[in-house]
Symmetry: C2
Subunit: 594 residues, 2 copies
């Protein structure tokens, strides 16, 4: 079986992205990263990828087959998890991006994204505890008082407690303005919390005793809707007289998820006994704002989850295609059976997976680098420009790997034939894992509204102009490097088309036809993502002309670039036409016609 | 929850297809069907759909949650199955299409397809026993001696034993020419069989004691490859002195399938003890030919499975979208939350599912009707023409519902949001079920080779000319009925494009560039299927202008037709261009570049 030798993520691709395409070493010239170098980056990634392959991957299938259980009010998770968690903390994965003041190494997000991709590809659920704890602690780091940092953040960054986000309520789903959990002030510095949350990952488990829930709730008397929502830290156990005692956070039930089986998803109750204490993070009524300031990072991490799941499956199917013998080559009569990779339809499925998977990673790395510059760039201009690009590309970086990754995961099953339809092989588990990524942290539909309704229309169109500049610069670089001029021209035309469509949709929206604009947000996201991935491939193709690459990586880069630009980029015209002609079928279809 | 009221398949759509679009009553004028009428058709369908909704659907989830087990050499299936099987036999489902001489009612395949769709949508695995038994018995009916019919076919058609197909071997997969199971002649009229088979559905179970395996094997000394394969009937238990005794067919293992949990998939061994007796069906070395003569029907049935799975999921998501309240309409400030069907992105996902699901059923019904005329048409010309169309469209009828149905199934999950990611709701189970349909009875890739390499190139292009005539006739009918002329024109152009591409690919193939032709078979299948479904929708739209329909069905037909022709048919140009320019990325990509 190929599984034991699954590389999870291609090392040469990671090096290529870091040091050729995205010049990670240039980041070391920024004051924030000056203690870093290629050596520290490589050391971090090497230790993480070794752990991912040797220790984490072998635990994936056992966890998939033994989902968490709920007994006597407590959630029981796989026994391998505590040691895995501790090792990940020791490797520095949890705090890698945080500053020294928070106990971290302040490694660029770019490097962290690429390193964590190996962990996610090895065992998505097990890595989930790290991602959730980092997200929760980071919120307190960014917005909490020193008192809260001492009380909660340090314990999380030290690896002593875990953390999670508890946003969703059963009746409200993505509609966060409708949450009803309440917070009643007391004179003791905390609030009494009451409410129900659902789909809360890792709110209880056997990894650590305590969990800090970062929760949205309404302070009594707060304004209605999204403006009246505050952020609270609510530990499962609270400290009293040096002891950890119950904080009246109870598990109401375990949700039977179809994937991510290492990490339990729970329905929880705050304050069933009237004694659940929550500590306000930052100012009252600013909860949603705080949460959304962390959203780019959270959504990029979902994109990396999605990439990782598709990458692991790609390598399973590649290993199978190289080993499994069946049939003969086209036109051959008799002779031995050949590995199925020799059938062109199998190579088509591999190439499609590769184009999706590696294009996704390139985008996620690019966006992560914008995140680094947006936070630590030397000039105000550089930070602002990177921030624009980060904001603009986040919905694509979240959605493309999830949606197309799901398609890639299905192809990995297809290559396995009947064997792919069994739980003896891994691809079906990866397919189940993948589906979550189009749902959590904002569904793909919500991302499409965010892209068209907010992001591209922001600041008089400055983000899109910045992106067009980036793409034109890449096209120029590709031309100079000697890439196929036809591919360069095709991408140039696609940029123009997307720009023109954006203008027309924006004008339609401003003229009051909100449906005629936002009703095309799915077409727009699809079109925009197709362009962005074409850009990423062309950027890799340009760098591949001079980078020190193996013949294999060079040829793969060329052929995947050609594949994406020739087969997918032409769809941009079809989608653009739907937007421009204001195709109404999917807008006008009435609920009562279904 | 909507599940208890899930209609599975829309009754009005079925009536519309039968009596308006496809004029099923005209079939009653054929001698073979003269005992039938709208009344007998309706009676049959009514009794079947009632059973599907009331008795079969409630057993689906219990079977999905309690997969078959393998203990002490026997396979144990869900205890509800024997009674369900007997009821289906009583309803006449098993023999409905067979002539009276075989104990049936000779109902048109068209009617049977639509009726069995309800059963498949209710419980795919449970219906599977019927489908497999029918297929096995039908092979003996068509090619077996009277002795074999008495011995095996009658027992199967009577509902006393079940049957199945045992083709696949572990090393050979789809490459049937490489099978190695052997058959040694004896002087007793039977052969001694030895070999291993895998992925054999229902070769053992708790529904009936005995199962007849229709198996491919090589008679000793037979020529190599596909020409040396013979067809055998091999019962699990054989009759000796009026007793049923073991026939040395053993279960080697249970395959852990990810769906179709009501029906076990097994690895079996023939002749471990040297005493497995098989009876030759028809002539020696004709096994593959016999099997492929039954293949159209088998593949259409896979298409119906796929349709049914997507239809059941569509209705789950529609029920959810109508009930689940979340968020507010675009532009609304405050007020109550609205059912999510009011969000245009949800309607887009419903419309896409509907276009795929109902377009699939229309195609499957159309193709079934060609099957009826091909077998029982009055004139030689009519039979031949229908046969050409049946052969040509079978790969599309098998593949489109499976591939696009999988996409529709994923949308049904997406509409359920986080709830869709749990096994408390049905869509995830339907997604698992669906994946098999792109794999069994010839993978989608194999279908694409069959379409381009065999079907469209057959008989000097006569099948494609016949199809073009049919589509042009539909366009003429649509124009006369007053359908949107732009949609008619778009489809007309698409027919021309597909015709031109076919010619060019054929010429390329004849010029010796087999890769340049068959390397585009996936593009071709996608392009061809998109046209065919556009034709089906336009045909429904034309009929809807005059048929006695509810306002709901009429509007749904109009909007789905517009949706498909405006959003999908334009992709034909993109795909055609890949074929015409002989895009080589997915052909030239070498195994060592991955």
């Amino acid at each position: 079986m190929a599984t034991e030798t699954n590389p999870l993520v291609d090392d040469e691709l990671v090096d290529f992205l870091l040091y050729s395409v995205l010049d990670a070493e240039a980041l070391c010239e920024l004051p924030a990263y000056q203690q870093h170098s290629k050596e520290t980056f490589d050391m971090f990634i090497d230790s993480v990828r070794r752990f991912a392959r040797q220790d984490l991957l072998p635990t994936y299938k056992p966890m998939d087959e033994n989902a968490p259980t709920f007994r006597n009010g407590r959630v029981h998770t796989h026994p391998a998890l505590p040691a895995l968690y501790d090792t990940m903390v020791e490797l520095g994965v949890l705090t890698a991006t945080r500053p020294e003041s928070a106990g971290g190494q302040r490694i660029p997000l770019l490097v962290h994204t690429l390193a964590s991709a190996y962990l996610m590809a090895a065992n998505l659920g097990a890595y989930g505890y790290i991602g959730l704890t980092l997200g929760a602690a980071h919120l307190i780091e960014a917005f909490g008082s020193d008192e809260l940092k001492r009380r909660f953040m340090s314990k999380m960054y030290d690896g002593e407690w875990t953390g999670t986000m508890a946003l969703t309520e059963p009746h409200a789903g993505s509609s966060l303005g409708d949450i009803t959990t309440t917070a009643k002030p007391t004179s003791e510095g905390y609030y009494l919390i009451k409410g129900s949350k659902i789909f809360i990952s890792g709110a209880d488990h056997g990894v650590k005793d305590n969990v800090v829930n970062l929760t949205l709730a309404r302070i009594e008397g707060a304004p209605a809707g999204t403006k009246g929502i505050s952020l609270f830290a609510i530990p499962r156990l609270r400290e009293e007289d040096g002891q950890l005692v119950s904080n009246d956070v109870t598990v109401a039930g375990l949700i039977h998820k179809i994937g991510w089986k290492g990490l339990p998803s729970l329905a929880i109750e705050f304050g069933d006994e009237g004694d659940c204490r929550g500590w306000l993070v930052g100012e009252p009524h600013q909860g949603l704002r705080y949460m959304f300031q962390m959203m780019n990072e959270a959504r990029i991490m979902v994109g990396v989850n999605a990439f990782a799941t598709a990458s692991a499956a790609y390598y399973e199917s590649l290993g199978y295609a190289l080993e499994r013998k069946q049939g003969r080559e086209l036109g051959a009569r008799g002779g031995d059976m050949v590995p199925i990779v020799r059938h062109s339809d199998v190579r088509r499925m591999l190439l499609r997976q590769k184009a999706i998977v590696e294009g996704s990673l390139a985008l996620l790395a690019t966006v992560s680098r914008y995140g680094d510059v947006a936070e630590h760039g030397v000039s105000e201009d550089a930070r602002e420009r990177a921030g624009l690009l980060l904001d603009l590309l986040t919905p694509v970086a979240k959605t493309f790997p999830a949606e197309r990754g799901f398609e890639a995961n299905a192809l990995a099953i297809q290559i396995h034939g009947g064997y792919g339809y069994t739980s003896e092989y891994l691809p079906e588990a990866y397919l189940r894992d993948q589906k979550l990524n189009s749902l959590h942290e904002g569904t793909s539909g919500i991302q499409s509204m965010d892209l068209l309704g907010r992001k591209v229309m922001a600041k008089g169109g400055a983000p899109l102009r910045a992106l067009a500049d980036e793409i034109h610069a890449t096209i120029g670089r590709a031309r100079e490097a000697g890439c196929d001029p036809e591919l360069c021209t095709a991408l140039e035309q696609a940029v123009a088309t997307v720009g023109a469509v954006t203008m027309e949709l924006g004008q339609r929206g401003m003229a009051g036809d909100a449906d005629g604009m936002l009703g095309h947000s799915w077409d727009y996201l699809d079109m925009f993502s197709t362009l962005v991935i074409g850009w990423q491939w062309l950027s890799m193709a340009a760098s591949a002309k001079t980078a020190p690459l193996s013949e294999k990586r060079r040829r793969a880069t060329e052929i995947a670039t050609q594949y994406w630009i020739r087969t997918e980029v032409p769809r941009i015209d079809v989608l653009a036409n739907l937007c421009r002609t204001n195709e109404r079928s999917y807008i006008d279809a009435q609920p009562e016609w279904f």
